[in-house]
Amino acid sequence: MSAKARVSIEWLSGCSGCELGIVDLHEKLLEVLDEIELVRIPILMDVKEYVAADVGILTGSIRTEHDRHAAREMRRLCKSILAFGTCPVYGGPHSSAYPHTTDELLDGAYRSNASTVTSEVPTDVPRLLAGNRPLDSEIEVDLYLPGCPPHPAFIFEALMSLVRGRAPGIGRHSVCFRCERKMVKTDRKTLRRAFEGEFDPEICFLSQGCLCFGSVTLDRCLAPCTKVGVPCFSCGGPSEPVILEPQKDVRSEVALRMSHLTQIPEAEIVAEIERQAKTHFAYAMASPVFRQKPTFLLKKWTQSPTPAGGTA
């Protein structure tokens, strides 16, 4: 029998939800552990050094000098690198710092934060880099598994295909694929927010005038949100057409579908998405994917003086 594949895990700037995603494999974890040996996982083991491994799994994004150092050490010591979760793939939710300078962020957290007593910026901690960045801005990445966190079904398939050296069968669908809501044409004429009025749980949010980003989001989640009444907010990052085609972007694609299903004019939907850009591009705003399309204006949209607010 061949030796088990050595897997080393390191976290950069993230929330550790991805580590929990691995734990969420539950009994399947035992099956995984038959084939891999975890040689480093800071949330479970007291290994302080970086160690040589076959597979290096990195969660979190590159935000500090320490992240950069950790990423380079992992690349040096691991044969292949898996960017695990939306943070290393696209930057993650804190990508929404994109319209702010690092100094503004520090100011918001320490100097002028009404709820803390300190007013000093900590010293003797790793220096912050100029912005939040995906992992491949720093090191070469072999495999990408977005998802915030990825659903255990995808994690299992990714890990198994990796250790067995086969192509992962994890699908290129968007979230709508697994959403059980039905898209129907309605005569809805205005947009409304998720807290405005009642929503039919069987019918697509778009049909009901509420923005939902399922159709522009890669399915790495099996659509849990829309099944419990929350519109998709794109935590898994952009869908395949948005990534591959320069002329497709999140706004135009959602607006196309929504205006097809309702009486709401396409331009109005586009304008509303731009106004809400800080929310709806949050998880992937740091990604260069969005610099190559009209979305290169993201900074402007998110800084626009119109407050992002309700439509009521």
Binding site: D46, A97, H100, L106, G108, A109, T279
Partner: protein, 64 residues
């Protein structure tokens, strides 16, 4: 002789941290510090976001 004990990184917790304990000549603790290494700026990031998204975004501050 005074000395400093550093635990870096602290493992089996969520996130990145370092603990530094300074001992004086008699081996008594002079000072101790728990230093948090990461910073993402959620305080500012959340400003201007849609309020209905707060439950989902803020749950990503800490995922454990």
């Amino acid at each position: 002789m005074s000395r400093t004990i550093a635990i870096d990184p602290v493992t089996r917790i969520e996130g990145h941290a370092r603990v530094e304990i300074e001992l004086d000549d008699a081996g008594k603790v002079r000072s101790s510090a728990f230093k948090v290494m990461d910073f993402r700026g959620f305080e500012t990031v959340l400003r201007g976001m849609q309020v209905e998204m707060m439950p989902t975004v803020t749950s990503r501050i800490c995922g454990t």
